[in-house]
Symmetry: C2
């Protein structure tokens, strides 16, 4: 069974250096999890993903339950066999996609009916089904089925979403039948402090292996997000991992590590990479820009990724201009390595006791660079 | 400067085991050259390409002269710097693309004017320009500018194309100003034996570092192609490499090695790979086929490529079904490895003296499997 241990709690900020033990290996926290929606991080082999320093991958239950379907994944031996990723995997519950892909048909206290984005077929999902599917997919960490709200949302909707999220969390807890998988609950409540507190406290009372904050990074902006995270963290137990779902920019990550978050996932490094956007410590680069046409230098001097060790900015720009897959591949690699280097720096500084003096300056710098 | 040496001439067939020395390394022949049109084999990093056993890559002058342009490539330090491919590179002359991409505007004995497939801009290309561009791109082997004919073609057109190809070859020879690059001539003449003989003989009289057969694999079919190759080979000098352009299927390759060809290039392994078609010794697999939906086995048992060592057919089928880049990437890898294993087997048998007894059976088998 999974196990989490806080090794160092920073004395100035609320940041923690931790260690999450799973059946497929150890995850050092704070950690960034690349998103492998359909069982693959877009454009990369598991070998290349590993080379970026990733220790755990996220996959999406919603997409996998539609294609190839849970029966196929189960027959192959689970998500690890399908994806050939040997490290830990976390699956979300499908809730977020049901509410965000405009596919919702009907929702009540029991569950949701939605139209498949693949063929429009009606699919029913509730807490028991979402848990059973995740049990069968076989990730190391699985998530409770929750109701995610948009931003902004009226108080009655937020209230209902929290009530259902709590009800479903309890049902997920009961339905969960693979003790080697950790089950995390998800705190909802929009940016309403009272609702967040109530939701978090009641989830803690039920008791889970970890706690996620959901329903953020949906348009509320950096400050609302940080405020909500800061407000919610103290309600969660110190000895359990905290996971901020779908976040975010480097600045979001630094701020939220300072607030006590241990785990992050986001499509930004790969999605931006596919769109010719590269993260660097000096700010973002847009590789389609003609400024790079004859630039023989790497994306980021000093970066140890395969892209920076091997290719010039001019070559990468050329690959994007002629629509070669290699452009998206190389920038996905670099951006993921950028994120992993950021997380490694955070962990190193937490270990050395220099995080609190470093983080505010770096945060300010990344905010200034709009990244 | 480049150098070619025949190490073993098979005593039964006309096949040869050879060694081509270039500024960027040694190429064992018979060799298959993967196609990296714009400086990258589609979907693969140079590291992955190297892992397939490729020793030399082809790139297309026509595409590179349009984007990023010869000035950019030159400023970066040449095609090796752009592509990050450390081994030998061969560039074609651009002739084939000018005649095949429906872009031809005007042609006479001096050269051709064509409309760029990128933006429609008028571009002029002649023997001196094609050679100068290739000198500046900096490949290890460059090709003469030739006139390629479609199939079928009327005798007057074939005759004119041969006349121009000879005239231009002489001009290329004169214009060529980088002695470290090998310059190959291209034999044209459709499937007309007399024209092929005349073209080959006159090119040999001018004298080149190697000789290519162009204008085949344009719809004439396996037997016409083999007959033309068999007819032309004896006209070419034994001590120079022979390159059959744009060919082909595994069966074409075996038959043409038996006829004395040393070098091949073709988009089939990568183009087919991107379309979910995998080469195996037992015949082609179409990975979108539902027969593979739950198949936990590799594409080809015993294949040592990363794809076969790592992924199931079911996983690859899934990646194609959900349009993940990983599907095309994995099958491109596997198919290129399949081709390189075929070439390694051919070379091994030529070295061991068992090629002549093996080749006809394998050829018949691949013809039976339509591959």
């Amino acid at each position: 069974m999974g196990h989490f241990e806080v090794q160092i709690a920073d004395s100035t900020t609320r940041a923690r250096l931790g260690r999450l033990t799973t059946p497929h290996g150890i995850v050092k926290t704070p950690v960034f999890m690349p998103v492998g929606t359909c069982g693959t991080v877009k454009g990369l082999t598991p070998e290349q993903l590993c080379s970026t320093g990733a220790s755990i991958m996220l996959a999406n239950t919603y997409h996998l339950m539609l294609r190839p379907g849970v029966e196929v994944v189960e027959r192959l031996g689970g998500l690890h066999a399908l994806s050939a990723w040997r490290g830990p995997i976390l699956t979300d519950s499908g809730g977020y996609q049901v509410f965000s892909l405009n596919s919702l048909v009907r929702i009540d206290d029991e569950g949701v009916e939605f139209a498949s984005h693949v063929d429009g077929a009606r699919v029913y999902l509730d807490a028991a089904a979402a848990t059973s599917i995740q049990n069968r997919l076989g990730a190391d960490i699985i998530m409770c089925f929750d109701q995610c709200t948009p931003f902004p949302a009226e108080p009655p909707l937020l209230e209902t979403a929290v009530r259902r999220t709590l009800r479903w969390a309890e049902q997920c807890r009961k339905a969960h039948n693979r003790p080697e998988q950790m089950l995390f609950a998800i705190v909802q409540g929009g940016i309403d402090p009272g609702l967040r507190t109530r939701c978090a406290a009641q989830l803690v009372q039920i008791g889970f292996d970890g706690y996620a904050i959901g329903g953020l990074s949906v348009g509320e902006g950096h400050q609302h997000m940080i405020d909500t995270v800061k407000h919610t963290m103290p309600v969660l137990p110190l000895d359990r991992p905290r996971y901020l779902m779908g976040v975010g920019n480097p600045s979001d990550i630094i701020a939220c590590v300072m607030a006590g978050v241990d785990m992050f996932d986001c499509v930004l490094p790969t999605r931006n990479g596919r769109n010719a956007y590269a993260f660097t410590q000096a700010g973002p680069l847009r590789l389609r820009n003609s400024a790079h046409a004859c630039d023989g230098g790497p994306i980021e001097a000093g970066c140890d990724c395969y892209c920076c060790r091997t290719f010039s900015r001019a070559a990468i720009r050329h690959f994007f201009n002629v629509s070669e897959m290699l452009g998206p591949i190389l920038l996905s690699l670099h951006n993921l390595r950028f994120y992993q280097r950021l997380m490694a720096e955070i962990r190193r500084r937490l270990g050395a006791g220099t995080f609190a003096e470093w983080a505010p300056g770096r945060l300010e710098e990344y905010l200034r660079l709009s990244m």
